[in-house]
């Protein structure tokens, strides 16, 4: 608010001084035009010279400055919000494809990532890490998804999300992911993605049951808790 008021004040002062022809344009840079040459009383295009009418008009125009600044700022912020929303939507799409490729339906643990809500859990994890880390991980996901990397490692001019999915040797997505994991320069980065994705799958109660993990038991004591020969139980 203070910054906005300061900007408006500067514009008011500068415009008024130009209108009154106290300073030239673009003061303090080299002198190109007189002060009035860019103002209402420049004589162009209606031949207006300074008068009581132009004075009143100028005051009205100057008074409207805050409105234009406000509208311009709102327009800019709306665009920024729209871009941010689009970016999040795309990020969620990449996460969705990544988790369903990593944990497809079937196999020794039948539920796929889509059935246990893995993508949503990974998305929520990103909101719990420091903002700079979230930005870095988001950037990493977009790099992983980019056509340039897919071309370099899978030979296709496509985004990762547009590669052919499915399972088995015909899956372009799996081929691309394996290429990242086996590359000595990218394997560390792939490891970061793998850890984030695993968080969204192996923390799910549906998965716990299928691997005979007893899961949370608090506030009850573990069923296997043994007070031992000397009576450790209080």
């Amino acid at each position: 608010m203070l910054l906005g008021a300061l900007v408006v004040a500067v514009f008011w002062a500068y415009s008024a001084l130009l209108y009154l022809n106290v300073i030239y344009f673009p003061w303090p840079l080299p002198h190109w035009y007189g002060g009035t040459d860019w103002m209402l009383n420049s004589g162009l295009p209606l031949g207006l010279a300074r008068s009581a009418t132009t004075d009143v008009s100028a005051v009205v125009v100057f008074a409207s400055y805050p409105v234009w600044f406000y509208l311009g700022t709102e327009l800019g912020l709306a665009g920024h919000r729209l871009a941010a929303a689009q970016r999040l939507k795309e990020r969620d799409r990449i996460i969705g494809e990544l988790v369903s490729t990593t944990f497809p339906e079937g196999g020794a643990i039948p539920p796929g990532a889509g059935q246990v809500g893995t993508a949503a859990v990974v998305g929520s994890l990103l909101t719990k890490i420091p903002p700079l880390y979230e930005d870095a991980l988001t950037l990493l996901l977009f790099v992983f998804d980019s056509r340039f990397f897919v071309l370099a490692f899978a030979g296709k001019w496509k985004r990762f999300v547009d590669l052919k999915g499915g399972t088995g040797p015909g899956s372009e997505k799996q081929k691309y992911m394996r290429a990242w994991q086996s590359n000595p320069y990218l394997s560390g980065v792939a490891e970061v993605l793998r850890i984030a994705v695993s968080y969204g799958y192996y923390t799910r109660p549906q998965v716990y049951k299928l691997i005979d993990y007893s899961g949370p038991m608090t506030p009850d004591l573990p069923p296997w808790y043994d007070q031992g020969p000397v009576g450790a139980k209080p």
């Binding site: 020794a108 991980l137 994991q181 608090t218 573990p222 808790y225």
Partner: protein, 512 residues
């Protein structure tokens, strides 16, 4: 008095005798013991305050709540996951309660090679004993060993290797197996259950603990520091300033954060801050057994084999430690993805896991070079890689000796050993962070302790060189890699520093 971020709705200024940054193994003890000596202490903790009632035993909730960066802290460029606690109580809240005193030979290196004074076993003995009593350190009893720990015991005994039950800081452990995501029964005697409540119960309320308060800088005035500037994550997500004016500042934020705070405060006066970091890199070896092991049922870390550790060999080595985790953390060292990873994880209840804790060379570095703030650069040296390969082979031998039908290494390319004859495959696959998933829970160094003329940041009593009243006390002051789980030594150093500062208060505080 505890003040959480949610309690704060305006900027705050505090005045104290001592400002301690970090409430973990060192910070909590320092705050408590200095307050007991009559000093007013402000204790700052970046993480939140979560009593045991908040611990719901769900990895999904606890890891973001209790771990630094939600567990997503990695070395650059090697991508080794480095776990550190970020909550009131620090890493003591999420560790496995394993307690070792520093090996005598390591303390000897610190004294002889790094010229640290009064650091021998005898000098530290009374500090260890004091801390051990308060946090209830005791040996795991035979009936408390679950099958995962018994695999290590059986295998080591068959091979004739030195091994023993762990000492742990726990009282009447309920054996839930979830130490790493907070002890919901309150039996683990972390700082959250011991020194923090002790400090807050001292008559006259001399300790003010700010949770959700991140230290931004230590304020300097010539050769003295005058306090700490911090930011509180306050009510409704707003940030508020916290300014602490103090006669003495102790930074105990842990390796990485302590060095980062000194660096961003412009206090790297001799260019050594951030240098010499070790992390105890620990690859996991998973043994598959015909019978159910149910390693998650019972104490995760209750037994170790020290045949090849510095405790026995008196030179840098590796310690084999039984360990187990809940499914997400357990899944990380297993290789592959898609059906292959699912197939491996489906045998979760038949697995035994041995970690090989490597006493690595201190070649890592904390710096502020990246857009993420502090970064930890780390590589394995050729000597580390060789020793790590030996550690992995020894772990595999123990597992086979105990009856494993196969052993899965933590190489990213699925590597399964079917007998000791396959051990050569470990060398063929290569041992490096680029080819393996390696974890770490013990970052140390960065603000190394040392005598005059040594490459060090603090002196023998943790005072930062060139300053009259600035101290660092946590694992970052270790001059070398410790070779055993470090929490007890961090605590002993904190007790030692509290005594030293208390006895020399006038000298350090500048108060006549």
């Amino acid at each position: 008095m505890i003040i959480r971020g949610a309690d704060v709705s305006r900027s705050v200024t505090e005045t104290a005798d001592v400002c301690v940054v970090g409430s973990g193994a060192a910070g909590a003890i320092l705050a408590c013991e200095l307050a007991e000596r009559g000093h007013r202490v402000v204790l700052l903790e970046k993480g939140g305050y979560h009593p045991k009632e908040d611990f719901n035993q769900k990895e999904e909730d606890m890891i973001p709540m209790l771990y630094k960066s939600s567990g997503l802290q990695f070395t650059i460029p090697t991508g080794i996951a480095v776990a550190q606690g970020s909550c009131v109580g620090g890493s003591t809240v999420v560790n496995d309660a394993v307690c070792f005193r520093a090996p005598d030979v390591v303390l000897g290196w610190w004294a002889d090679l790094h010229k640290v004074e009064d650091i021998g076993p005898d000098a530290l003995k009374r500090h260890y004993e004091k801390v051990e009593e308060r946090i209830s350190v005791s040996e795991v009893q035979p009936y408390e060993l679950n099958k995962n720990n018994l695999v290590l015991k059986r295998g080591a005994e068959k091979l004739g290797w030195a091994s023993a039950p762990n000492l742990r800081n726990c009282k009447t452990c309920r054996q839930c197996g979830l130490c790493q995501i907070g002890c919901s029964y309150g039996t683990k005697q972390s700082m959250l259950e011991t020194y923090i409540p002790d400090a807050l119960a001292i008559q006259g309320d001399p300790v003010t603990l700010y949770a959700d308060a991140e230290a931004d800088s230590v304020v300097r005035s010539g050769s003295r520091v005058t306090g700490v500037k911090a930011t509180i994550a306050g009510r409704e997500g707003r940030k508020y300033g916290l300014s602490v004016e103090a006669k003495l500042v102790i930074v105990s934020a842990g390796t990485v954060a302590s060095s980062a705070l000194l660096l961003q405060s412009g206090l790297n006066v001799n260019g050594q801050v951030g240098e010499g970091v070790a992390i105890h890199p620990s690859p996991a070896m998973v043994g598959d057994f015909q019978e159910e092991i149910n390693g998650n049922q019972g104490i995760p870390m209750a037994y170790h084999c020290h045949e090849f550790s510095v405790l026995t060999t008196r030179k840098p080595g590796y310690m084999l430690e039984a360990i187990f985790m809940a499914p997400y953390q357990f899944s990380l060292p297993l290789p592959g993805f898609e059906y292959e990873h699912k197939q491996l994880m489906s045998r979760y209840d038949h697995y035994a896991l041995i970690g090989s804790l490597l006493q690595d060379e201190s070649v890592g570095k904390v710096s502020l070079g990246g857009p993420l703030g502090a970064i930890l650069e780390y590589q394995l040296t050729p000597g580390d890689s060789k020793l790590m390969a030996e550690g992995m082979k020894s772990a595999a031998r123990v597992l086979f000796a105990a009856g494993a039908t196969k052993v899965i290494t933590s190489h990213r390319k699925t590597t399964v050993l079917h007998s000791e004859d396959d051990l050569h495959i470990i060398d063929e696959r290569g041992v490096s962070p680029g080819t393996m998933s390696i974890g770490s829970g013990h970052p140390q160094g960065g603000n190394r302790m040392g005598g005059a003329g040594q490459k060090s940041v603090v002196d023998s009593y943790s005072k930062v060189h060139g300053f009259d009243n600035l101290f660092v006390c946590d694992a970052s002051v270790f001059p070398t890699s410790l070779g055993v789980n470090p929490q007890l030594t961090v605590m002993a150093l904190a007790a030692r520093l509290a005594e030293h500062v208390g006895e020399n208060w006038r000298r350090y505080s500048g108060v006549p």
